[in-house]
């Protein structure tokens, strides 16, 4: 099927020049390539319109088709993502596409991540080689910019995605955790063979695709704006979550209907639904951190599309699937993680290194200054996300505004916690264990149960606690004092509990056979410790050493 499709494309290409000659017959042949759904949809759309008819989605589709077919003339890139290669080889056609795409404002690109992904997937599904569809979609996007009517194109894209038959999810999941946004630009390039070409064409193809995307879904505008910059290959849970979010949305949209009337996002969803339900859920699961920002949606969509393309290829041709999808997945993961040349398993492997990859948008300056700005923007957003999270952790930070003050608060809190640990360890060093160590297990359970009320007991403990090392040299007598006091406290406990515990007075060595009986009583003791604050006990304890009441409660 793929081969046949390719032949058709070549045929179509021969008919046309590398220019975007939107000839209906060529287009029709090209669209037959697409597959059952696609052909029906494409055919209906393509022949009816003049390729250059701007203002009708059909026209745009046909434009895309023609473009794609022209791009097919040099199917040098047998891989899925021959998009960039084709654009290079086709020179004129690609340049035409590029020119068209340039016409698109950047905002358009940003607007449509998901639908573009849907279209992507559809295109990839159609194109076994993986070249045509991206190109066509790119061209389509370009033409779309000129065409006000997006619905028809969306229809076609939807059909394409449905053709994919649910590989979307698989493709998406091949990325796994990693940042799909990074995949977007890189995925296109990496999927192809020649990276150098990709480097040249990646931008173009990306821009093309972006323009197309923007056309496809105007609603995505807000999301895309931030995403473009966030080309970061980081497999953080935040990003995973976002990625899953973006994935889920397209899927849901696609699900709505395979009919032509539906949005392409709907169709993409359908196609993606098949395989990727569980995968998406896992993605959601991995996205533990609360990140509401869908900044990377745009890039993610692209990567998703790439994944879809891989999947489409894999799904359609069983022979190729195994080879291509893991290979592409690997490439994608490589792109996503952007680690130092690592090509490990995708998604699951956490990135050892993080780079902030930012691709200049089409028409944007690519000088280092603007790129650096974008990188900084991404960084700052991440940092502010984490600061918000920390704000919840640190008590009393909700009122604080400003990062610097927040950081100071965090620093103070960490310092206080560390000091608390030191103080408590000193306290434990001075305290005598009254009970058998087997009781520790029970104590552990109680501790784990996080019983309430320990803070109340701290009121008594000051007199018992030695507090800080500085006390020792200054008042060695005080150091000695707590031990007998502890003994008194144990007496107190015994009195409090029952006669059964009188054997505890010895304290340290309890016969194990009593341990079982002890557990219940210990339980009671613990409960007493935690729950009750018997003033009598505290008085007894306080009596002998009133001067030691200088506990510093942190």
């Amino acid at each position: 099927m793929d081969i046949g499709e390719k032949d058709k494309y070549e045929l179509g290409k021969r008919d046309e020049h590398n220019n975007i000659n939107y000839q209906a017959p060529v287009l029709s042949t090209d669209w037959q390539f697409g597959g059952a759904n696609l052909t029906s949809a494409g055919m209906s759309l393509v022949p009816t319109t003049n390729p250059l008819a701007i203002g009708s989605s059909c026209a745009s589709a046909s434009l895309v088709d023609s473009f794609g077919s022209s791009l097919w003339e040099h199917p040098s890139n047998s891989q899925n993502m021959g998009f960039c290669d084709i654009s290079v080889q086709n020179g004129a056609s690609s340049s035409n596409a590029m020119e068209i795409g340039k016409g698109l404002p950047n905002s358009l690109r940003t607007s449509i991540d998901r639908p573009f992904d849907m279209g992507w997937n559809a295109a990839s599904a159609m194109l076994k080689g993986g070249i045509f569809l991206p190109n066509t979609t790119g061209i389509l996007a370009q033409t779309l910019s000129q065409l006000p009517a997006d619905s028809a194109f969306i229809e076609r894209a939807a059909r394409f995605s449905s053709f994919n038959g649910g590989n979307f999810c698989d493709m998406v999941n091949s990325f796994g955790v990693p940042e799909p946004m990074g995949l977007y630009a890189r995925g296109v390039g990496l999927m192809q063979g020649p990276d150098d070409i990709f480097a040249v064409n990646g931008m173009k193809s990306v821009s093309v695709m972006e323009s197309q995307k923007s056309k496809l879904d105007a609603t995505e505008a807000t999301r895309d704006a931030g995403l473009r910059v966030e080309n970061r290959a980081k497999t953080s849970p935040l990003e995973n979550e976002r990625k899953s979010e973006s994935l889920m949305q397209p899927n849901e949209e696609v699900k709505q209907g395979t009919g032509g009337s539906g949005n392409e996002s709907d169709e993409a969803e359908i196609s993606s639904r098949d395989g990727g339900q569980d995968e998406l859920s896992t993605l959601d699961g991995t996205g533990g951190e609360p990140s509401a920002k869908g900044l990377s949606s745009k890039k993610r969509k692209k990567s998703i599309q790439d994944a879809e393309i891989d999947r489409a290829k894999g799904g359609q041709t069983s022979t190729k699937t195994a080879k291509d999808s893991p290979e592409n997945q690997q490439k994608q993961s490589m792109m996503i993680n952007k680690t130092t040349g690592k090509q490990g398993s995708p998604a699951s492997r956490p990135p050892k290194e993080e780079y902030i990859h930012v691709r200049a948008r089409r028409g944007q300056a690519t000088n280092s200054h603007s790129l650096a700005e974008r990188v900084n923007f991404v960084r700052r957003e991440k940092i502010s996300e984490r600061m918000k999270f920390l704000q919840d952790l640190v008590p009393g930070c909700s009122k604080v505004t400003g990062k610097a003050v927040m950081l100071d608060e965090i620093i103070n809190y960490v310092q206080s916690l560390q000091r608390q640990v030191e103080f408590l360890s000193m306290k434990l060093a001075t305290v005598n264990p009254r009970l058998d160590f087997s009781i520790e297990a029970l104590l552990a359970k109680d501790i784990i149960q996080s019983r309430a009320g320990p803070s109340s007991t701290l009121g008594f403990s000051p007199d018992l606690s030695m507090g800080y090392p500085p006390l020792h040299p200054s008042q060695p007598g005080l150091v000695q004092a707590p031990l007998p006091v502890i003994g008194n406290s144990s007496d107190v406990i015994h009195r409090a509990l029952s006669s059964q515990l009188t054997s505890m007075t010895g304290g340290l060595k309890e016969p194990n056979q009593h341990s079982n009986a002890w557990e219940d009583e210990l339980h009671n003791v613990v409960q007493m410790n935690y729950g009750t604050s018997a003033p009598s006990d505290s008085l007894d304890v306080n009596g002998p050493r009133p001067s030691s009441n200088r506990k510093v409660e942190l």
Partner: protein, 165 residues
């Protein structure tokens, strides 16, 4: 008999508690409490503190940069104490690790273009292993570190309260 409603037995809290209690019993078994001279107590205090940090770091394993750094620090310290010659060895490994981590994170003086350098540096000193992290990771690690510290403080408080009744 025992509490039927236990919290997650594999939670950080329970992991830390069991480890810490085990270490405590070991420490207590080593020296009788009766010898409670200030120096003895101080020594025990140090040991308990180390045990607390160690059990916390072990409960987190190497999943976090700060726990890895802490374990590494503790181990090198113990090596140095046991055998002064081993300090060289551990020093080498330390250097290797530090170099590796610093290579991963390029410059140590991190401007990041964000502008919280002073506070960030201070935070880096507080969080173990923070010198080799950029601000983003640093904040991540700080969040997890704070969570672990609060758990530690909670557990130790309960133990101390129980004992210091």
């Amino acid at each position: 008999m025992n509490n039927p409603h236990h919290l997650n037995p594999t939670s950080l809290k329970s992991r830390f508690t069991t480890r810490f209690l085990r270490a405590l019993t070991k420490i207590r078994a080593q020296k009788p409490i009766s010898s409670s001279s200030p120096t003895e107590i101080f020594r025990r205090y140090r040991r308990i503190k180390v045990a607390a940090d160690k059990s916390m770091a072990y409960s987190v394993r190497s999943r976090r940069i700060w726990s890895k750094a802490m374990l590494w620090k503790l181990r090198s310290r113990s090596y140095r104490r046991q055998d002064p010659c081993s300090g060289r060895r551990s020093g080498k490994t330390n250097q290797a690790i530090m170099k590796k981590s610093s290579n991963e994170n390029t410059t140590t003086r991190r401007e990041d273009g964000v502008g919280f350098v002073e506070e960030a540096d201070e935070l880096r000193q507080l969080v173990p292993g923070g010198e080799t992290m950029n601000l983003c990771n640093l904040l991540d690690e700080t969040a997890h570190y704070i969570k672990c510290l609060t758990t530690q403080v909670q557990v130790m408080k309960k133990i101390a309260d129980f004992y210091s009744f």
